[in-house]
């Protein structure tokens, strides 16, 4: 035991010192310099100024192009179309190279989204009707809630993020996805790990730590599956045909490095103990959001916002600040979950400071993404991808600033231990991350299947169900959480007051959750109709290639 931690300590120190020198060397040699051309690496020659939105019909795409062109002051006549070039033909091949991997991950993610939503709804209902489904230990609140969390985090969010990342890689690096079969195997093993983990949790076999419940022998499957997904990333990076690495590549590479390390350090059995284990627990649970889901989500947002609009991101330098500050500050923020707990005081202080410092990367990312869209908000009307992704990016700013506020002791006193935290967690994983994934999937699937979405109205229905349902969920649970906190802090009121004051708000949460669930059913139905090619063919299968406004209007 002493050896393990001693080795860990020495290793961390060694890497730190070694890395520091490498870092200074990289800086002095200008390896981190940034210029406008770096932001344009995702566009083909002559493609800047042209929209790409595979999820809509040619007519709508022409309207989208019109809005975009008007905002940039150019005319959208036929000469605006991209001439068929070797570069675009190559992109068609790039898109084809990742089809199997993207399809495997995205299909699985939607399956887990449905199951995870169902578990979440049951758990929510149990808090308003505590005698609902109490007949079996498998369905008791403590287990079904945990199954919900693990299915949406490791099943839905992680697999969607991996699928989108694997699909983006060949485009970002202008090459074929190398080692796709590793990713497909990774998907199979990852699925097996999540499935076995959920059965274990429901049956009562658990490691007992929040976010780390999946027993460690099964957790090995997740570590192996994750590592297999990192293989194509590094193999493809070696074959790249671009000089500059686009912002999304930094986020994806870092996330795929970080996750396995986090998971293994937190999961090692019989090393952590007592309060120290609680510290590791929250170091992990916070980082799985900050260093795993957040970079995957931001990587997708950086690509799709720029690509749909046909506009390079506002500032490449700002994205550098956003990335490194996220890595620096987010990684040390986790212990704010234990403010006031029996942990060393200096440790909590470190985390509170870093939580507040998170304002830096959040504003950098928020400003960058907002300035890219600004003046073009009318495009949201036509592009479902943008509608979801821009909403997700806006909620990222909101959830992060809320997180910084929650870490401040004066506010933490009120919000700690309440449903306010549950609302906050959902704002992060649903409002920010899942919204971006929905938008990305609408963009990616027509490329993966080389087939259009059959029912455009269902996309709108999904958006409004998810947005309104989540709005109800978040607003009511936040208010309820604050009232619960006020009741708990008042020594004159019995504890039961804090339970009773929540009642109507928990009911509203179930209602909001039901709307979100309906949105997911619509989404999954639409996805599988498309996957099995059961829908109508609306305008042929020529969604590949690029917009030619003259043709689109005819």
């Amino acid at each position: 035991m002493t050896l393990t931690i001693g080795a860990l300590l020495a290793l961390s120190f060694l890497i730190s010192v070694l890395g520091l020198f490498m870092f200074i060397w990289a800086q002095t040699n200008g390896l981190m310099q940034a210029g406008p051309d770096a932001a344009q690496v995702i566009f083909a020659e002559g493609e800047v100024g042209l929209v790409e939105e595979p999820s809509i019909s040619p007519t709508q795409r022409a309207a989208l192009q019109h809005v975009g062109s008007k905002a940039s002051g150019t005319t959208d006549d036929a000469s605006q179309s991209v001439p068929a070039s070797a570069e675009l033909a190559a992109r068609v091949e790039e898109d084809r190279s990742s089809r199997a991997a993207a399809f495997a991950f995205l299909t699985s993610s939607i399956f887990w989204l449905l199951l995870g939503t169902l578990a979440g709804l049951i758990a929510s209902e149990k808090l308003t009707a505590p005698d609902f489904l109490t007949g079996s230990a498998w369905l008791t609140f403590g287990r079904i809630r945990t199954a919900h969390l693990n299915m949406v985090i490791y099943g839905w969010a992680s697999m969607a993020g991996l699928g989108i990342s694997l699909w983006m890689l060949p485009r970002l690096l202008k090459t074929h996805l190398v080692g796709e079969r590793y990713a497909v195997w990774g998907a199979a093993i990852w699925n097996a790990g999540v499935a076995a983990g959920i059965v274990a949790i429901l049956s009562g076999w658990t490691d007992g730590l929040q976010w780390l419940e999946i027993p460690w022998p099964i957790g090995i499957l997740l570590a192996v599956g994750g590592a297999l997904c990192a293989m194509p990333l590094f193999l493809t990076l070696r074959q790249r045909n671009v000089h500059h690495l686009y912002v999304s590549v930094w986020y994806i590479s870092a996330a795929l490095l970080w996750f396995p390390i986090l998971y293994v350090v937190a999961k090692v059995p019989n090393v952590h103990f007592g309060v120290e284990q609680a510290i590791v627990n929250w170091w992990y649970a916070h980082n799985v959001l900050g260093l795993w889901l957040t970079p995957l989500g931001l990587g997708a947002a950086y690509y799709f916002i720029a690509k749909v609009l046909g506009r390079p991101i506002y500032s490449y330098s700002l994205s550098l600040v956003g990335f490194w500050a996220l890595a620096m500050f987010y990684s040390q923020a986790g212990i704010h979950h234990l403010i006031g707990g029996p942990v060393p005081y200096w440790l909590v202080s470190v985390s509170v400071v870093q939580s507040v410092m998170m304002i830096v990367p959040v504003l950098a990312v928020g400003l960058n993404q907002h300035m890219t869209v600004v003046g073009r908000f009318a495009t949201l009307k036509y592009s479902p991808t943008l509608r979801f992704v821009v909403l997700g990016a806006a909620l990222y700013t909101l959830v992060s600033l809320q997180g910084s506020l929650e870490a401040l002791p004066f506010f933490n006193r009120l919000a700690h231990f309440t449903q306010y935290k549950v609302a906050h967690a959902h704002l992060g994983v649903y409002g920010f991350f899942s919204m971006i994934m929905f938008g990305s999937i609408y963009f990616v699937m027509p490329r993966v299947l080389e087939r259009e979405w059959p029912y455009p109205n269902l996309v709108s229905l999904h958006f409004w169900l998810a947005a309104i349902g989540f709005g109800i969920y978040f607003v009511f649970l936040t208010i309820g959480g604050v009232l619960q906190g006020i009741a708990m802090l008042d020594p004159a009121r019995p504890f039961m007051d804090s339970v009773e004051v929540l009642r109507p708000y928990l009911l509203a949460r179930t209602l909001g959750g039901a709307l979100m669930a309906a949105g997911h059913v619509v989404f999954a139905y639409h996805f599988f109709v498309m996957a099995f090619n059961l829908g109508p063919r609306r305008y042929g299968s020529v969604v590949l290639g690029h917009l030619r406004p003259a043709e689109a209007r005819s």
């Binding site: 961390s12 808090l127 403590g142 007992g208 730590l209 708990m488």
Partner: protein
């Protein structure tokens, strides 16, 4: 950035720093903690009960970390003094919890030592705590026609008792209650033990 290496090295440094500060240094600091003399190791039955507490997911609604007076009226509610790292010396996995949908349980054994109360509460929380949203755990009990002398009969208010038969506790329920009633950290801690915590 143009080099993959820059990202890889940079990302690893950042994580290494976080691991050093948030994992390695606290490990070193807390490894030196010794259990307070007044804190007894769990008995076998209590450990089995603790395992049930873990696998039923009690931790998602009940914290085990009373906070100091400046952070809330925990002591006034009878949840005990602020806890210190040494109090958790025998806890694996830890059960600090970060939610108080129900009350803190770090000293529930001192606050509510009655085995009968706990059994009735687990069978049907609303039989002893009206308005509670805690789930019932009927699967930790059996309903028998004629309890034998070694059976632990659960006494319930008439409206919560089954129409026919008598409710008796399973060994699992008894172990869980043994664990709950063992939760008693009301012994005083010396300045040494509480030194760094607050």
């Amino acid at each position: 950035m143009t080099r993959t290496l820059t990202i890889v090295i940079g990302a690893l440094i950042m994580l290494a720093m976080a691991t050093l500060v948030l994992v390695a240094i606290p490990y070193r600091e807390l490894a030196a903690e010794t259990p307070p003399a007044a804190l007894k190791p769990y008995t076998l039955a209590e450990l089995r009960g603790r395992a049930t507490y873990v696998n039923m997911g009690c931790v998602y609604c009940h914290s085990q970390q009373p906070r100091a007076a400046d952070l809330g009226p925990d002591a006034i509610r009878g949840w005990g003094r602020p806890s210190v790292p040494a109090d958790y010396a025998y806890d694996y996995p830890h059960l600090l919890g970060i939610s108080r949908t129900g009350p803190d349980l770090f000293n529930i054994g001192a606050h509510q030592p009655s085995v009968d109360w706990h059994l009735a509460h687990l069978f049907q929380p609303r039989s002893v705590t009206p308005g509670s949203v805690m789930p019932a755990y009927p699967f930790l009990f059996n309903v028998v026609a004629h309890p034998v002398p070694k059976d632990k009969v659960v006494s319930l208010p008439p409206q919560f008792a089954p129409a026919a038969g008598t409710v008796v506790a399973t060994q699992e329920a008894l172990d869980l209650v043994a664990y709950l009633t063992s939760l008693n950290h009301t012994y005083p801690v010396t300045a040494d033990e509480s030194g760094e915590s607050r």
